[in-house]
Symmetry: C2
Subunit: 532 residues, 2 copies
Amino acid sequence: MAPGEKAAGGGKQAGNKNVTVPVNLNGISVSKDVNFSQWYQEVVTKCELVEYYTEISGFYILRPAAMHIWGEIRDWFSERTKAMGVEETSFPLFLSATSLEKEKAHVEGFAPELAWVTKAGDKDLEVPVAVRPTSEAVMYPYYAKWIRSHRDLPLKLQQWCSVVRWEAKQTTPFLRAREFLWQEGHTAHLTEQLAEKEVLEILELYAGVYEQLLAVPVVRGKKTENEKFAGGYWTSTCEAFIPTNGRGIQGATSHALGQNFSKMFDITVEDPNKKGEHLYVWQNSWGLSTRVIGVMVMIHGDDKGLVLPPRVARIQVVVIPVGITAKTKPEVKENLNNKISELAAALKGAKIRIEVDERDGYTPGFKFADWEMKGVPLRLEFGPKDAEKQVVSYARRDNGAKGTIPLDEVAAQVPILLEQIQKDMYDKAEKAFSSHRLMLNEWEKVVPSLNAKNVVIIPFCEEPKCEDEIKDKTKSDEAELGPDGKPQPSMGMKSLCIPFEQPEGLVPGETKCLNPSCGRNAKSWVMFGRSY
Amino acid sequence: MAPGEKAAGGGKQAGNKNVTVPVNLNGISVSKDVNFSQWYQEVVTKCELVEYYTEISGFYILRPAAMHIWGEIRDWFSERTKAMGVEETSFPLFLSATSLEKEKAHVEGFAPELAWVTKAGDKDLEVPVAVRPTSEAVMYPYYAKWIRSHRDLPLKLQQWCSVVRWEAKQTTPFLRAREFLWQEGHTAHLTEQLAEKEVLEILELYAGVYEQLLAVPVVRGKKTENEKFAGGYWTSTCEAFIPTNGRGIQGATSHALGQNFSKMFDITVEDPNKKGEHLYVWQNSWGLSTRVIGVMVMIHGDDKGLVLPPRVARIQVVVIPVGITAKTKPEVKENLNNKISELAAALKGAKIRIEVDERDGYTPGFKFADWEMKGVPLRLEFGPKDAEKQVVSYARRDNGAKGTIPLDEVAAQVPILLEQIQKDMYDKAEKAFSSHRLMLNEWEKVVPSLNAKNVVIIPFCEEPKCEDEIKDKTKSDEAELGPDGKPQPSMGMKSLCIPFEQPEGLVPGETKCLNPSCGRNAKSWVMFGRSY
């Protein structure tokens, strides 16, 4: 704990100092554990991350609190990819029906979700154009044009844009929307080794976005054949976990495309080692979307609302004047305001994003609840009593802990406290994930483990058909709450990834695949779970 | 001139030192003055700013050199708008046919250019949706929802995105494309005064993008009724000038929407001064697009290709090893390479964006021409003779001037030199604009002035019908080259703006409108010109 901090009673009370917290009628109306799906919808809207776009279903407006998080991620990721030599580009929004023909294997997966522009003004287009669901087919004809020699390699481009996938499934803000923001990187390399190195470097950056910025732990691994990118070679992924419902969720994927696309699009260079012979380049594509924000909300939020990791919070610290009553003398009030201005200036000087809530007509208690709901990591309270003692009182959003900081140490202590909050949030989430990731050697334990909100790590043969069987066998009639809040049968489990960090205990040629009707040898420990 | 600099002979030679510059077969094949339109197309493609998207006409790929410029603009503008309290948002790409009905006056102008999505997968949509041409109709229903009290004002949001306008007219990279990147700001205020103040603050930032980043001078002013934003109240603009063809070009516009949209979308608050009474909010919208890049290219480019202002150039300085021959001793070569590494490190330490061109198999002369074409502001040459003298030789891209800098002063001198280049480029463009902005009091001089590649400032009544007449009367049969390079009749002149800085000499109630068949009194000096 940080200096001057004392533990709060259960961390669930807003405080029992000298302020009564009223019921916030605008607050979150359901408990996270009781109706997770409604809780989530309320949190993302009431905390002003998104607004539902009622004109067209499945679309959402991202509000400043969400865009700030995305901006922090963009800055962090761009800085690091730039250092890797990745440059920014912007390709058109549309791809033509004719260029889609070229790469059917890849496109098949997206075809049912393509939005087609067929008219401009009142005229029909001669050839309809589709809004990009991803940009392989938009970009790679130009990679073929630009890459003429091995000197043009590596080619490393990325763009930040939105893509459209007209989902038929139920949409959810951030997690599944018909339009979403992302970055997509597309690179070409001379050799498989160079390409593979980059796939993993990018995956590590994606894991960094989750772990270092969003305080969300992830498991790094490889997707099975069933779950890899359509048309690609192999897919690396980082997988997160939602403790409330025990589901896995794909965090972000970095794909080795191998030579599959370079063969489709004829992207070749002369082999620098064998004059006259051509080789197909090795390509990667990798994407991170605004889904990350939804994962963060689901993991850290609580019954009071959002809990934001300090590194991405638009407002890291809110300062609330307290202890002012009708009887407070004007000079005391003025003195307090002056001190608060000094406090604010000191914090801004320390590069802290702060807001002073000087709204008239609201009680401190109302303000406390309001900012707690919105997830501001740290609340500073300052009143006549604090002024007397030359301190400021604080309350942490993540665990409710309270304490005081000497006024002249605020600029030094608050950044330390924010970093402590960041770390504690990560540690808490990491504990929740690792304690719900069960290594199993008995098939009988699988479904009960899933029902008890775990994901499982099991010996698996890695065969696509066996994976389908496992999914089928783990469907459960035991009720869980669906997105509509009503009980429904549980889905079967999917493979989430083959973790790069393989646990011990799997004996090659001896350990069997856990699926009792399989009989093949297990190739690896694979993480399975019910998932988004 | 900077220390150590000597004037170059006409600034057209790459240098007569010890290097012969070969004809660059990949270079720009036509002179800017001879065929401006082909010159422009070659420059933007060969200098790798854009690639034509051949799959769908009217669309362009923005390559890293262009995206870097846009990124610099985004950072500069975001920093300043953030300080004004503007926050980032992201609204959907689509607007529904039904919400378009609401604001017909505004939409009419865009209707012929709307791209309509009518199908998702193989299913027809029940209600077609249009890709946004601009976002007033997408956003303002939510402004009505979010603004409930005067405490919610001002509301200041902007987004960086692309918009689609399916132009029937000939498209040109950056200047007129069917999809382009822009930022669009949308704000709401309690009073006309507060709104107006912001309109002009934003206009000043737009002018700053041109003048401070792109070294392009602009004239600030107000649009006439004919040229203002459809559905708005009044429009402020900054107008640039292309000396090569004497055309004006709209730089960026900041619109006062007045209460026109708040009445359409019912965006009201209770009047804080009159309890119980509601007032419609005052709104602004303002946009700056990638068009700025095209204007910059047209103004600064020359027969060798692009000339980039240092502040936005992705590569500000290129370092080229020279004077190495087959006879050069290995230890001399190695020493040179070491010195160049030190030089590069010193420049990077001074936050200069540099590239060392160590490509094998290319002569220095080829490299000189290549980087000149691509517009890199400053070339540093370093060879055995420079090493002996402890200097580095330089050549400025903008005026061809050459000189030397002592090695140990490079980190200090190069930033100064780059700023000098930036300033000189601006001054040159400013001189070209101001000397081709003619104040006229005789109607007879108008067409000859236009034909001599000027824009004109004339006394004008500000009546829309009179403006139409003037346009008609100034059409000229004298040939100018069209976008296809063939002679064609010249277009008539349009009003560009009513400059905020009004020249003297207009006597109210006395000076007549310059249109001889008008007869009304002139209200102001108005800048007219042939234009983009």
